[in-house]
Amino acid sequence: MSERPNKSVFDKKYSKKSQKKEIWRRMKKNKLSIIGLVIFCILVIIALSADFIADYEELAIKQHGDIRLQKPSKEHIFGTDQYGRDLLARMVHGSRISLGLGFFTTGISLAIGGFLGAMTGYYGGIFDEIVMRLMDILLSIPALLLAIAIVSALGPNMINLLIAITISQIPGFTRIVRSTVLTVVGEDYIEAARACGSKDFRIITNDVLPNAIGPIIVQGTMSVAKMILLAAGLSFIGLGIQPPQPEWGYMLSEAREYMRDYPHLVLIPGIAIAISVFSINLIGDGLRDALDPRLRN
C-alpha cells in the first residue's frame, strides 16, 4: 500500500476540481450550448457596459419631438420610438432591467421553491401536506392576477414588482422539485447513504438534488423567459416598471399601436427577448446533459 507509484496522479485525478473540468469538457462538446453561452455572454457584456454605449438621460429618457418614429438609419441604428428616443439606447439600457429581473426573480423563486420542494419531498408528512396545500392555493390564482394583487397592495415600483413575480413563480418550482425529489428518495442509494450515517442535509445536497437537477434546470431556464414576459405584462398595465424607464417587455407592448407602420419598434425588443430566452435555454440543455455522467461521450 505504502509504495503506490501513481500517488500524485491519484491526487490530481480525483480532486473536486477535476470534476468541474470534466463537466466543462462535456459542455464544450455540445456546440449548441456553446453558441448559447456566447450569445448570453455578449448580452451580459452589453448590459454591463450600457453606460459606455449610450447616455442614459440624453438618449434613453429624454424625449425629442423632432425625431419621432424614425426608421433605422446611421445616427439611430435601431431608429427612434414614438417620443423620439433612440431605440438602441433604450434597448441597451433596457437589457439591464429585463435580464436582471429575469435572473433575479428566477434565482430567488428557485431558491425558495427548491428549498420547500426538497424539504416536502424528502420529509413528507404533515409539513408536506401544509406546504403543498398552500402552493395549491397560490397555483389556483393565475400568475398575472396574483402579481397584480400583490403589486397593487404594495404599490407599483420595481421592488414590489420583483416580489410579486417571484412569489407567483414559487409554486411551480416547489412542485417540480418536490416531484423529482420524490422519485429520487425512493431509490436504494438514499437508504444506503442513510445507512452510512449521513445527515439529512448532506443526503439532500449530495445525493438527492444532484439526481433531481435535470427538470429543475429546464424549469429554471424556461422561467427566465416567463419572468421577463410577466414583468412586461405588469408594466403594460402600469403596475411594474414605470415609464419612461426602458424595459424590453414594456417597450414591446408600448409599441403595439405603431406596429403596422413601424414594425421595427416591435420587432427589435421582440427579437431581443427571443434571443436571450433562446440562449438561456440552450445553456440550460447543455448544462443538464453535462451534469449527467450517464450521458457522457
Binding site: 500500500m1 503506490r4 437508504e191 447513504a193 450515517g197
Partner: protein
Amino acid sequence: MKKTDDNERPLVEIIDIKKYFKTPFGLLHAVDNISLSISRGKTLGIVGESGCGKSTLGRVVLRLIPPTDGKILFNGENILDYDKKKMRLMRQKMQMIFQDPYSSLNPRKTVYEIIAEPLVVNCIFDSKRKINERVLFMMETVGLAERFINTYPHELDGGRRQRIGLARALSMNPQFIVCDEPVSALDVSIQAQILNLLMDLQDSLGLTYMFITHDLSVVKHISDEIAVLYIGQCVERAPSRELFQNPIHPYTKILLSSIPVPSLKSRSIQREVVKGEVTDPINPKPGCRFAPRCKYYKPECLSEELELKEVKPNHYVMCRLFG
C-alpha cells in the same frame, strides 16, 4: 482479541420485533414478533417468499425504519434507545448490502466517491491521503481493479457494481452486515463469485452476516443458521444442516422440495407444490398463518396464537401439529 464473555454473547439479538404498516385497509403485519440472535462471526440466513417481511426485518434491524415494538440489542445494548447522534456513530459498525446493484449506487458519483462517502461522513480519517489509501485498499479487498476508480457505476457490470456496494459497506470496518438478497439480481456465474467473496471476507475480517434471500441453494451455501419466515412470523429456525436434513414445519418442507435438482432422475420425484396464495398480511387471523395452504390443516390450527417451540436442541418450530 475479544474477551471470552463478550464472545459468548450473540452480537445481534432481536427481541420481539414488530413492524406494522398502516394501510387504508388495516394494519399490515410486515414483521410480527420475531426474535432471533446472531453469534459473532456467524451467518444467519433469512428465507421466505416475496412479501413475507424479509427485507423489512433487515431494515428494521439496522434501524433504517423504526420498528413498532421490540428491542434490538447490538453488543448487548438496545440501539433503539440511542439518540440520532449516537445512532449515526453506531452505523459504522452495522452496514447493509442491497439487492439491486443498479439502484443502490448513486449514478452521479464515481466509484471513488461512493466508497469514500462513509469515510468522509464519519470523519474517520483526518487527511485525504488516508481516505485515498483506504479506498484503494477496499477496492483491492473486494477485487475491483484500480483502473475503475474514476468510473461511474453505469459503466460497470452488475457483479462489479455489487463489489462497489460491498466495498462501501466494508470501508468502515463494520462488525455486522445485513445482506438483502445481494446476489439475486446477478447472473449465476457472478452469484458464485460474490458469495465466495462474502465468505472469504467473513473469514478474514470476522464479519457477522444476516443474509436475506429467497434462494434456498444460496442460503444453504452460506448460512450457519436459517430462519424461515412466513407472513411476518418466523415459523422455523434451526442450524443450516439440521434444517435441510430434518425440516419439520410443513412450509419448510415445501420450500425445500421446491429446490431444483439438476438431474434427470429427479423428474420422477414427486414434488410437494404449495397451493393457493399467501394469506393477506393485513389484520391476519389468529393461529397458524400457513393453515389455509397446509395439507395437514386441522381446525384447531386456527384456535390460538402459536409460539416457537424448541423441538430439538436449537431447532425451533411454530406448528401445532408437528411442534
